[in-house]
């Protein structure tokens, strides 16, 4: 059995194919970086995995469950967490409330009317607030956080969900060197228990953390393998790392 597998995934908008017979397999407890030039279909792939868009054809399997075409919340409940490219936090809620919403152990609206405290929440909150360095900022409205802090908050929210697989779209965009270093150490720690898929343009960061690099181009798989192989691959250099050609 495979942990996570995409089989012959296709997606077209009207008649324009965006994802074209894309297949990959992701091994449990690894960190896979998804790279590719703009328009390669990275974010669309994330959308298809998490149910925001429905594939035209193909299959997505997660722990042997077919999750193709399920709704966003059903996929999230199965254990796939997602961080967005443009940090999406609840700006008019406090940092603490953001993390509280993300701690989604109970999701039934009627039961939640009568629920005021979530068992295990404050322990998890302490842990993740420390991990993401937000302990001092818990009472603050999320809308006034700096860009870097907002990134941290959204990473913290994904962690609160305690997903088995994390999809992170450009998690270090807009972070300082020191913050990136901290992210690297968190991701290395996470890899011991979770599986991560990271979309990232920052090749230095990719080099630091990736076990496997998957390169997409025009909606298809171009190459997959360890970073050293990828950087030596002439096709990849041509379409993506490009500069040497010119």
């Amino acid at each position: 059995m495979s942990f996570f597998e995409i089989k012959h995934l296709c997606k077209s908008f009207d008649t324009i194919p965006v994802i074209n017979d894309f297949s990959i397999e992701i091994v449990e407890q690894t960190l896979c970086c998804l790279v590719g030039p703009n328009g390669a279909g990275k974010t669309t792939t994330m959308d298809l995995i998490t149910g925001r868009q429905k594939p035209t054809s193909g299959q997505i399997l997660f722990c042997d469950d077919d999750i193709t075409g399920l709704d966003e919340h059903e996929i999230a409940r199965l254990g796939i967490g997602r961080k967005f490219q443009v940090p999406a936090v609840f700006r008019d809620l406090s940092v603490r409330q953001n993390l509280e919403v993300a701690y989604s152990r109970s999701t039934n609206p009627l039961k939640n009317i009568f629920r005021f405290r979530e068992p295990g929440f404050s322990q998890q909150l302490d842990e993740i607030a420390t991990q993401t360095g937000l302990t001092e900022r818990l009472g603050v409205e999320a809308g006034i956080l700096s860009h870097g802090e907002t990134q941290w908050l959204e990473i913290g929210m994904v962690l609160m969900q305690d997903p088995r697989m994390l999809l992170l779209d450009e998690p270090v965009a807009g972070m300082t060197e020191a913050e990136i270093e901290k992210t690297v150490s968190i991701f290395r720690e996470l890899k011991k228990t979770n599986t991560l898929v990271v979309v990232e343009h920052d090749m230095a960061f990719v080099r630091e953390i990736a076990d496997v690099v998957t390169v997409m181009h025009m909606g298809s798989l171009l190459a997959q393998g360890p970073i050293s192989d990828i950087e030596a691959n002439p096709r990849v250099r041509e379409v993506y790392l490009g500069d040497e050609e010119g």
Binding site: T50, R52, D71, E72, H73, A76, R77, G81, R82, F84, A88, V89, F90, R91, D92, L93, S94, Q97, N98, E100, V101, A102, S104, S106, T107, N108, P109, L110, N112, I113, F114, R115, F116, E118, G139, V140, E141, A142, I144, M157, Q161
Partner: protein, 367 residues
């Protein structure tokens, strides 16, 4: 920290507010006036339901007259049937509309308990089904508001059209007060006033607790970014439908009380102007504050009763102008004004370094 966001202070404010309202009959001996104040309680419930749905859930609902009207018609039918007996089995207006037997639609309302139950269940079910269909299709924001408005007009036309069953534009005027067992609820008595107030209290406390619960938190997250909430594993449609339906239930209770107090119902309860004014009450009082919305309803309806006579037809213009001013300068309504005044006070009284942080603290849910 701003006192406004202190949950204990909020409960205290609620307590004071309701105690003052409960003491009102000791000062007001005019039973007509007391009846009028009781109807303000009904408007308070409606404003509360709008605050819950629009303020907390972010669902602009221009059709709150639907559950209100359905509840009101149910109660009016129940009260009407209480006055019919074996010698006089069907309401007089039906005879005028050449019906010779009681229509099936009216049969259940011959039993008071069943009639009252239906007055609450039917509007609630309507909201659950209509809301469920809309929210599952991800209709939201202004599109949902337009759908509620269209649905409201449809109900208005329907009620007007089936004259043999509803007496059309004339409405239903039950000749005697509601009887619960042997007890007749005199709409002009302090008991009627206190009963409405008790229902308003229950609705307010329930709504307040709901905003403090996990449900309330998720609903507020949905208001901020519904898309994001889905990826955390919550069914957004489920939350939206639930908050819309609970608001509908409160409006249905208000509808029942309205008929008990006025002994009258007509298609005017489904009028768009009435549903829009509920939104204006909540907007002026402060849609993010439950109690603010209730006070908004009291102020506007009170002003309409007393100033409306002076201004006559220009009253609507005055109200409209006031609403525009509030939207422009006080987007959080009068409650927002209280919030910023208390915020200033807490900053100037402490004057230390924590103030900046305190100033940025997020307003707690519920106020």
């Amino acid at each position: 920290m701003n006192l406004y966001h202190n949950v204990k202070a909020q409960w205290l404010a609620y307590g004071v507010f309701f105690v003052l309202l409960a003491l009102l009959p000791t000062f007001v001996s005019d039973s007509f006036l007391l009846n009028q104040f009781a109807t303000y309680g009904v408007f308070g419930m409606l404003a509360l339901s709008i605050s819950l749905c629009w303020g907390f859930g972010g669902i602009l609902n221009l059709g709150q007259g639907i559950p209100f009207g359905l509840g009101a018609y149910g109660m009016a039918m129940t009260m009407q049937m209480q006055t019919q007996d074996a010698s006089n089995p069907i309401p007089p207006f039906m005879l005028n509309n050449s019906l010779d037997h009681l229509p099936l639609l009216w049969e259940p309302f011959r039993h008071t308990a069943l009639g009252i139950a239906l007055s609450l269940v039917v509007p609630t079910l309507f909201c659950a089904i209509f809301g469920g269909l809309m929210f599952r299709a991800r209709v939201s924001g202004p599109f949902f508001a337009i759908m509620t408005l269209a649905m409201l007009s449809a109900w208005y036309t329907l009620i007007l059209d089936i004259q043999p069953y509803t007496n059309g534009a004339n409405g239903i005027t039950p000749p005697s007060p509601l009887k619960l067992g042997d007890y007749a609820v005199d709409p002009y008595s302090p008991v009627a006033y206190w009963s409405v107030l008790a229902l308003l209290l229950v609705a307010t406390v329930g709504a307040k607790l709901m905003t403090l619960s996990r449900f309330g938190l998720v609903v507020q997250a949905v208001r901020g970014d519904a898309e994001r909430v889905r990826f955390l594993g919550y069914s957004v449609a489920g939350y939206e439908t639930t908050v819309y339906t609970i608001a509908g239930l409160i409006a249905a209770v208000a509808g029942c009380c309205w008929v008990v107090l006025t002994q009258y119902v007509s298609p005017a309860q489904f009028d768009t102007t009435f549903s829009l004014s509920m939104v204006i009450w909540a907007g002026i009082g402060g849609r993010l504050s439950l109690i603010g919305a209730i006070i908004g309803a009291f102020l506007i309806q009170g002003a309409q009763s007393y100033l409306g006579d002076t201004f006559l037809n220009t009253w609507l213009l005055v109200l409209g102008a006031f609403f525009i001013l509030v939207v422009r300068f006080l987007p959080k309504g009068l409650a927002g004004l209280v919030e910023s005044i208390l915020g200033r006070l807490s900053v100037s009284s402490k004057g230390n370094g924590n103030d900046v942080a305190a100033h940025r603290l997020y307003p707690q849910p519920g106020e």
